[in-house]
């Protein structure tokens, strides 16, 4: 994690983005996994086992209401488990370093960066991704508001923005203060300055920020 994206961070960010776009275009879902299987014959497995390293570890958690059990390399992040193993590709990989927010998911009611946590650390947890909020035909009010207010351009950061926005409204409701709350001991206000501060972990390189804030304010207003 780094708050400031420095020169190297920015290069990394751009390359991660380019790589993720390329891999999506070149490989249909499932192909990467199949390649991995054919490229790792029994002999390779045996070598790893001889080296005394665990090849796979088991974890189970609930994703969007469904119990899922996985056998994973311990290095697998929650993000990669969702995208590559469960094929829930709505959650995006942007920077892969907790700087951009494209991978935001809700775990046990809290929004987190799925790229900066290991899947193994989530045994028994309840995870909500963008797919769990709503689907075409029965969209979540936040998804509808983003469409109505044109809260995106290229759309890559949008799932993270929407998941984050849903959690932000819960945080305000729970009375959690922010950096811009003038009174630490009062109820946080549902105003644009609060939403901008609370959404600062979600970066939109197309710059749809003002429309995103409009969308969140509309949902907050209808919830109030």
């Amino acid at each position: 994690m780094a708050g400031t994206i420095g020169k190297n961070g920015l290069e990394h960010y751009i390359w991660s983005f380019v790589e993720s776009v390329l891999s999506r275009r070149d490989l249909p879902v499932g192909t990467a996994a199949s390649l991995a299987v054919t490229a790792a014959p029994d002999a390779a497995d045996a070598q790893i086992a001889v080296a005394g390293e665990p090849f796979m570890s088991k974890v189970s958690f609930n994703v969007n209401g469904e119990n899922r059990a996985l056998d994973l390399d311990p290095r697998t992040t929650l993000l990669d488990a969702l995208r590559e193993h469960l094929h829930l590709t709505g959650t995006k990989k942007g920077c892969d370093h907790g700087q951009c927010g494209a991978c935001t998911v809700i775990v046990n009611g809290r929004r987190i960066n799925a790229c900066l946590t290991l899947a193994l650390m989530h045994e028994g947890d309840s995870i909500t991704t963008i797919e769990g909020l709503g689907k075409p035909g029965r969209l979540h009010p936040m998804q509808q508001a983003f469409i109505k207010h044109d809260g995106y351009q290229c759309g890559y950061c949008t799932p993270g923005q929407i998941v984050s926005a849903v959690a932000v409204l819960d945080e305000i409701k729970a009375g959690i203060p922010s950096h811009v709350s003038s009174d630490l001991n009062g109820e946080p206000q549902l105003v644009a300055a609060e939403l901008r501060e609370r959404m600062s972990g979600n970066i939109c390189r197309c710059g749809a920020y003002s429309n995103i804030v409009d969308a969140i304010i509309e949902v907050a207003g209808s919830e109030a």
């Binding site: 020169k7 900066l116 950096h179």
Partner: protein
């Protein structure tokens, strides 16, 4: 990322013993800094001990009338705690000035104290860095040093500590409780927790191999108005160029700690004695011995001006 083995710890003492026993072991709690560094292979633990199940996630009133904050209390929960907001405003403000909502939900109290510097040369594995690769040199010294330390640095390292929370805890006089590999516990004042870089910038804290932080305690509330003023390149989600955490009493006395200027939050008793005499007098003492680079010399006047803004706010 290098391969590693993984276990879930069942008690703080077991975790500490395992960490000392297994070569290359590291604790993982929130993981927001460690995993970032593991992806870059700057951190390459051979074994991870997941301490999230240790139930160190409570904030309790201590017998001395202060607070005992469990090592695993998340930054969001600490900032939102009613007692912290009411009695330790500098801490709530500092926490809320750091990172993003997503990261604060995951980052823990102990992990925040132990996070590594964001020096760009520490992060760039193509560059020499005495902290990452002891003896290789310091690229920041002749490099782009705008964000770096002006106090307490050495010829080997001019990195700053990135934490906002630690600045507030230093102003509050926090104590760090640990358990060691042999099962014994001890308490370290935060003022003695961070090691000056000297010739060994890779050694950052007073913790021994395997030693696990279990809690941070705050003394009973000291009152006053409490402030955390962070100056950075963006309005949100950026590290401090200069940060001032302060507690100001009605008679003008008080405490102050600086962030963004050194390897640790910077607090000087002689500077606090000058509090009733205004920002210029306090800043002069705080910055005594400062050695800025050409690129970060702006931090010296910025400290004084930020302090003046805080003292104005306190009088208002």
């Amino acid at each position: 990322m290098k391969t590693f083995t993984y276990e879930r710890a069942h008690s703080p003492a077991d975790a500490a013993a395992a960490a000392a026993r297994i070569a290359g072991a590291k604790f993982i709690a929130g993981g927001t800094n460690l995993l970032d560094l593991m992806k870059l292979e700057i951190e390459t633990p051979a074994h991870l001990i997941d301490v999230n199940g240790l139930k160190l996630d409570k904030i309790e009133t201590s017998t001395e009338g202060g607070l005992r904050i469990g090592a695993l209390v998340r930054n969001t929960d600490l900032a939102a705690d009613a007692r912290v907001r009411r009695d330790y405003g500098v801490l709530a403000r500092a926490l809320l000035a750091g990172a993003s909502g997503q990261l604060r939900n995951k980052a823990t109290t102990a992990g925040n104290l132990l996070q590594r510097t964001r020096c760009p040369y520490f992060y760039d594995t193509n560059q020499p860095c005495n902290k990452r690769n002891p003896g290789s040199g310091c690229a920041a010294l002749g490099g782009f040093s705008r964000q770096h330390a002006v106090l307490g640095a050495s010829e080997a390292c001019i990195a700053t500590h990135p934490s906002d929370m630690a600045v507030a805890m230093t102003a509050l006089g926090a104590m760090i409780e640990t358990v060691r590999a042999d099962g014994t516990s001890r308490t370290i004042p935060i003022a003695d927790f961070y090691r000056a870089p000297g010739d060994t910038p890779q050694l950052e804290t007073a913790l021994a191999a395997g030693e696990l932080i279990t809690a941070v305690t705050l003394p009973k509330p000291v009152g006053g108005t409490q402030h955390y003023h962070k100056v950075r390149d963006r309005a949100s989600y950026a590290f401090a160029l200069v940060a001032v955490g302060a507690i100001v009493q009605r008679d003008g006395s008080g405490r102050v700690a600086l962030g963004g200027v050194a390897y640790k939050p910077w607090r000087v008793a002689a500077a606090e004695a000058e509090m009733p005499h205004g920002a210029k007098a306090v800043a002069r003492r705080l910055l005594d011995g400062a050695k800025p680079t050409r690129e970060n010399a702006f931090k010296l006047p910025l400290v004084e001006r930020t302090l003046a803004a805080v003292l104005n706010e306190a009088r208002a």
